[in-house]
């Protein structure tokens, strides 16, 4: 799946910059070491703060909505002209509507953006957790057991990589709800969100699986693994007690880079018309709708555009900084 170019390349980069690091030599724990490195990195701090603010805004959306005095589905049709364009300056920006109104439907852009961050982050984090979990389990199993198991998992990886993701999503997403709900049932938002997470999960695990497999292969013959094996440790213990703790660093980086790629992915699906239903505020749909207004209401393009850009960039920068902090060799 190549929705965002960042993820795949970043994974390759991790892969090549060597295996897991030896435990810190100074008396500090690796966690402390990483934290102090992050603290010193200005980019990491700035992007971290941006992320914190956005996540906080997403969590507090209902509260913000109450304070702000508008709900995401509320329409202000009176503030639009006869062709549906917002009256006033810069797409209807005013004291009541900080970022103006959506042309056509007349909903408040600011509050929809706040709710949009909520939806997009939910999908992105959900998809990242699921894909990372699948990827780690498959990768660790394939890498440790090798042989037939490795070949089979590798084959499934090849198949998943060869399926054109967007075509598949286009075909599957719209039909999903038809299978689970009757023709008269309302489809809850959580279901629509879950559908997207499932579709991302079906294709997104390959990168992490390959990465983890590579790491495990290089660890397999190390002394501590040999020692554990010799002392008769079970498979579960080997995989999750001995190997996993030694590769958490690259997994963490992969995870932090996967999140923005799913934010982008949700936007790409909206662009093809298979995102969330219209009533659910999401970044993807907002961006996709606003692009058409580039010439007639640029403010509508600007506000959500800059927000999704900031979100994705902050995640990418943070992931980048995290990798630097975890990998002493690449420190500049």
């Amino acid at each position: 799946m190549s929705l965002s170019p960042v993820e795949g390349v970043a994974l390759a980069e991790i892969e090549s910059t060597g295996g897991p690091e030896e435990k810190g030599l100074v008396g500090r724990s690796p966690g402390q070491l990483v934290w102090s490195r992050l603290r010193r990195d200005r980019t990491a701090m700035v992007s971290g703060i941006v992320l914190a603010v956005l996540i906080l805004a997403a969590l507090a959306a209902p509260l913000i909505s109450r304070l702000y005095g508008a709900s995401p589905s509320q329409q202000f049709g009176d503030l639009l002209d006869a062709t549906g364009m917002p009256l006033g300056y810069v797409g209807g920006v005013s004291g009541d509507h900080w970022f103006g109104l959506e042309p056509g439907l007349g909903r408040d852009i600011f509050i929809r953006m706040i709710y949009g961050i909520r939806t997009s982050l939910l999908i992105a984090l959900g998809a990242a957790v699921v894909t990372t979990t699948i990827g780690v389990v498959l990768g660790i199993v394939a890498g440790y057991l090798g042989g037939v198991v490795d070949a089979v998992i590798g084959w499934f990886t090849d198949v998943a990589l060869a399926m054109p993701f967007l075509v598949f999503a286009l075909a599957v997403v719209p039909t999903f709800s038809l299978r689970f709900y009757g023709p008269r049932d309302a489809i809850p938002t959580w279901f629509a969100v879950t559908t997207l997470i499932v579709v991302f999960a079906a294709f997104g695990w390959t990168g992490t699986a390959r990465l983890v497999r590579g790491q495990v292969v290089s660890l397999r013959e190390r002394e501590f693994v040999e020692a554990a094996r010799a002392s008769g440790a079970g498979l579960g213990h080997m995989l999750f007690r001995q190997l996993l703790p030694n590769i958490w660093a690259p997994i963490l980086v992969a995870f932090s880079l996967a999140v923005p790629s799913y934010v982008t992915g949700e936007a790409a699906l909206s662009f093809l018309g298979v995102g969330l239903p219209e009533s659910v505020p999401s970044f993807g749909r907002m961006i996709y709708r606003s692009i058409d207004y580039l010439q007639t209401d640029p403010a509508y393009v600007f506000f959500p555009g800059i927000a999704i850009f900031a979100l994705v960039l902050a995640f990418n920068l943070f992931g980048d900084a995290l990798r630097d902090a975890l990998d002493p060799k690449s420190s500049r």
Binding site: M163, A171, L272
Partner: protein, 328 residues
């Protein structure tokens, strides 16, 4: 070498078969009955039924799948409503376009190739070049700018960049024509002018990333023993960097490039939609929307083929570029 190739090929064929089965099943999950689209305004149940039988949609599903695969390898007869005999490799006859799927592909495939391949050359050249230079000038202003650009461009949305570039260069400054595909042999200048925006957009998003990757790889390689040895032996700087280090550093880049080019060939939907160019991606999207089974199958198979072939090419390139890798 021969054994390796044979093994890879067998694996590739099995992957393609799996993809074909999955996409075949996917089609039957679509909500749209493809037949209704082929019926006029006042269609009735009997006529629908007959069309369905004629298309073979009433056969058992495994039978339909076998028929389709048979068409690819030995050809088959599609009946008078679908242009009659269809020679191998028969990709079927479109339910909605009233033409053989192979004709559709003869038209749209070159378009996609002409978008992706030059764009890939561009993003690799810029990306790898930039990455190498930043690695050699580590810590310089150039280095920092290229790292900054990397993440900034990669964080933008393709259709966003595309829409802005279109507005600036085509509709406002009017220095470029509306994106369109002109065959290169017909008019090379028009070919370039018509596709340059698509190339640049793809290159902007991808090359920065390659810059990052190749910078990291280069730094890694420069610290390796064989480079240090070569330098110590007094081999000229340029020769060391250009021949030894670059070769070693480029290997993982080739892997990623292979996957990216393969995926981009199969997934140019958004690029093509943004620039209004009818290639493989848009054809696939329309086919899914209209429930056009033969076209869906063919687009999925062809884009899967690209990915699989790209993987094999990467493996072969590996051996050629990096003497440390031996096939077997």
């Amino acid at each position: 070498m021969v054994r390796f190739l044979l093994k890879r090929l067998l694996l590739a064929v099995s992957v393609l078969l799996a993809v074909s089965v999955v996409s075949f099943l996917m089609f039957f999950a679509l909500p749209r009955d493809p037949v209704t689209g082929m019926c006029p305004k006042n269609c009735n149940a009997e006529r629908l039924e007959r069309v369905r039988t004629e298309l073979g949609l009433n056969d058992p599903k495994p039978q339909q799948y076998v028929n389709y695969m048979k068409g690819i390898f030995v050809g088959r007869d599609l009946g008078s409503a679908q242009g009659g005999k269809c020679e191998a490799p028969c990709l079927g006859y479109s339910y909605v376009n009233s033409e053989a799927v192979s004709d559709t592909f003869a038209r749209v495939l070159p378009v996609t190739l002409n978008i992706v391949l030059p764009a890939a050359v561009l993003w690799l050249a810029i990306g790898v070049g930039l990455g190498m230079i930043s690695a050699l000038r580590r810590g310089s202003l150039l280095d920092r700018i290229s790292i900054g650009l990397t993440l900034t461009f990669a964080s933008l949305q393709l259709y966003f960049v595309g829409a802005v570039l279109l507005l600036i260069f085509v509709y406002s400054l009017k220095i470029l024509p509306t994106p369109r595909y002109t065959p290169i042999f017909e008019n090379p200048a028009e070919w370039a002018r018509g596709l340059v925006l698509a190339w640049v957009t793809l290159a902007l998003l991808f090359s920065a990333i390659y810059a990052r990757l190749s910078r990291a790889q280069m730094l890694e390689t420069l610290s390796e023993d064989f480079v240090r040895t070569a330098r110590a032996k007094g081999v000229a700087k340029r020769k060391v960097y250009g021949r030894h280090a670059l070769r070693a550093a480029i290997t993982p880049i080739v892997t990623i490039a292979g996957i990216d080019v393969g995926a981009a060939l199969g997934g140019t939907v958004i690029t093509e939609t943004t620039f209004g160019i009818q290639g493989l991606g848009r054809t696939a999207v329309e086919a899914v929307r209209q429930g056009d089974l033969p076209t869906i199958m063919a687009t999925v198979l062809i884009s899967a083929l690209f990915v699989v072939v790209a993987n094999i090419v990467v493996d072969l390139l590996y051996a050629y570029i990096d003497p440390r890798v031996r096939l077997g």
